[in-house]
Symmetry: C2
């Protein structure tokens, strides 16, 4: 029995390591997609469009690990919450990988037009989204609720930047019709980045539930749960 | 033991019923959001903006049911796959509810401008997305792989309509700057509907895995899995 328990804990550690590896990959692809767009590097954009195999392979591998842990070890309480959180986080990270591809798709169209403006706020949104993702995964591995709650707070900054970008680009579009197409792609990119922040938020909420068995989702609407926090 | 097994099967049936109820709610809210936008019903749009409590409550309830089933009954094989599928489907349905709110947000802005054009393709996208969602959930409840595969095939129609809508609206925007703002909101709505189709696709993929333990995700990129299908 002692040996089974040790084996389970080792497998759980490996699961966390693999999720961290996947998070690192997803984060890198977001960073590269935004950089390639901002610096108009066509070849680099192509590389992102075709390079999602490692993330997809990890997605399948991690899902299989979760099933194996649930089936062979029948974990309870905190361990069960950790594995179910891993199933959900795995899905979120895979979507982040897809969003990096979406950013590259918009980037591919964007570089076919003259630049609308120097890109400052979009790289800034990219930095925030990446940091949220990294912090949310660190919070998962360490079981750090305070860090997870800090991630939730960051989401407002991302939303504010998205609104600001939209207003600025709308002004360009209204003044000069030749900016409409490229500005549309920048608006889409800002929304993809906002969604990456949403996925980081999901991860952070899963971490809080995993550690404290406290459900912080839908706090604004669900009266049956402790309000406050976020 | 006989009694425990019967109790487990009853709980599993209840879980499926609750997921169906949630799917029905999500579907209805998408339909109402698109209808309110197309018919410019401001009051109805407001009702959708504030009415996501029932879905959010179901989201938390279903998650709790899944945990309870995993913890108390330690299910194996097909039952385990069903419960993990339910966890994922629950997440997808909650996001569909959020997207209905997003459609209503765009609708609220849209009706403040004169209509860009009579809306035909957007309600059509709404119909397809809803049908995909309903079929995916029926496939889940019945364990119907053929129906789940039919859902995957529908996604291409949604993508084609989205592209067509984009091209048409871009033409309007380039010809008449006063259409830029409302056209932008229609483009966003078409993307929200596309994402609802993506969630239905996720559900369908989960059903296929649940029934056949066959992973159909990432078939285009992952050589280690049987190609073809989708």
């Amino acid at each position: 029995m002692e040996r089974v328990v040790r084996h389970f804990q080792e497998e759980l550690e490996t699961l966390k390591e693999r999720l961290l590896a996947m998070g690192g990959l997803a984060e890198e692809r977001v960073r590269e997609a935004v950089r390639a767009l901002a610096e108009r590097e066509t070849e680099h954009i192509e590389a992102i469009l075709t390079g999602d195999e490692p993330i997809n392979d990890l997605h399948i591998e991690i899902d299989a690990r979760c099933f194996k842990l649930l089936a062979l070890h029948q974990p309870m309480a905190a361990d069960l919450r950790t594995i179910v959180a891993a199933v959900k986080i795995n899905t979120d990270l895979e979507r982040v990988g897809d969003l990096a591809v979406n950013i590259a798709e918009a980037g591919k169209r964007y570089v076919q037009h003259p630049p609308v403006k120097p890109l400052i706020d979009i790289p800034r949104m990219g930095d925030i989204a990446q940091l949220m993702l990294r912090d949310a995964l660190d919070a998962f591995v360490r079981g750090d609720v305070a860090l997870a709650e800090a991630v939730l707070a960051e989401d407002d900054r991302l939303d504010a930047l998205k609104t600001q970008i939209f207003r600025e680009l709308l002004t360009f579009m209204l003044q000069d019709a030749t900016t409409i197409e490229p500005a549309l792609d920048l608006i889409l990119v800002s929304r993809h980045l906002e969604r990456i922040g949403d996925h980081a938020t999901n991860v952070a909420e899963d971490v809080i539930f995993m550690v404290s068995a406290r459900d912080v989702r839908h706090q604004q609407v669900s009266e049956s749960f402790d309000p406050g926090g976020r």
